[in-house]
Symmetry: C2
Subunit: 109 residues, 2 copies
Amino acid sequence: MNEEYKNKWISQLKKGTLPFIVLSVLRRNTYYGYDLINEIKKLTDIVIAEGTLYPLLVRLKNENLVSHSWVEQESGIPRKYYQITEEGKNTLNAMKDYWTYINNTIQSI
Amino acid sequence: MNEEYKNKWISQLKKGTLPFIVLSVLRRNTYYGYDLINEIKKLTDIVIAEGTLYPLLVRLKNENLVSHSWVEQESGIPRKYYQITEEGKNTLNAMKDYWTYINNTIQSI
DNA sequence: AAAAACACATTGTTATACTATGTAATTTGT
DNA sequence: ACAAATTACATAGTATAACAATGTGTTTTT
């Protein structure tokens, strides 16, 4: 078993799965970045580095798949809450379909 | 629906799925590069560019997941046939496990 | 004879995960 | 009361990989 290759592969696999997972989680609720990391860790055991998530959220925002709004806190720093857009929901559905297709394909080989 | 983003996403998803698919196909049989492209197209409808596959096969070779041997043809250019190694089979099994895990996770969100 | 297909390969471009680092407020531990 | 850890945002640099474009030479089809 080539453990090192497997780890590198998992990192590459994340390039496809992370946007998918983030959008899926944001369809359930709104979250701010730092919280998303913890929520995804809790839900999936997948650890996302901050240096991965923040740029990813910026990209999703630029693509109009999510929007954000700053929310003041009673104490502490304001939080940037992200919500999925209609376009985000539709795109997520298409991604879901493709995922199902690729999963079936892989299982059949 | 953001079609452009979806296509970009599929391209990123391939970074995880292609090595997995190539190893899976090579577990069934030996193939040479050019033939692999057609075989995978036939099996999965996924189109792999030559500029993607050849470097991928080089990487898998460098990681000892596959080996290759030149086979002379009665007519035409010799073909470089690839076969999966024991290490390749074991790594593929580990990849399969991780894939199952990530698929279950995504379905559950 | 020309065009298409076969079969290998590399170069340049673009996208993205991850490490390291930075800033600043707040909370916890002693 | 002070130090350390946590919360919360973000960016810069590095490594990896898909893909288009291009290249070489042979063989088959039209």
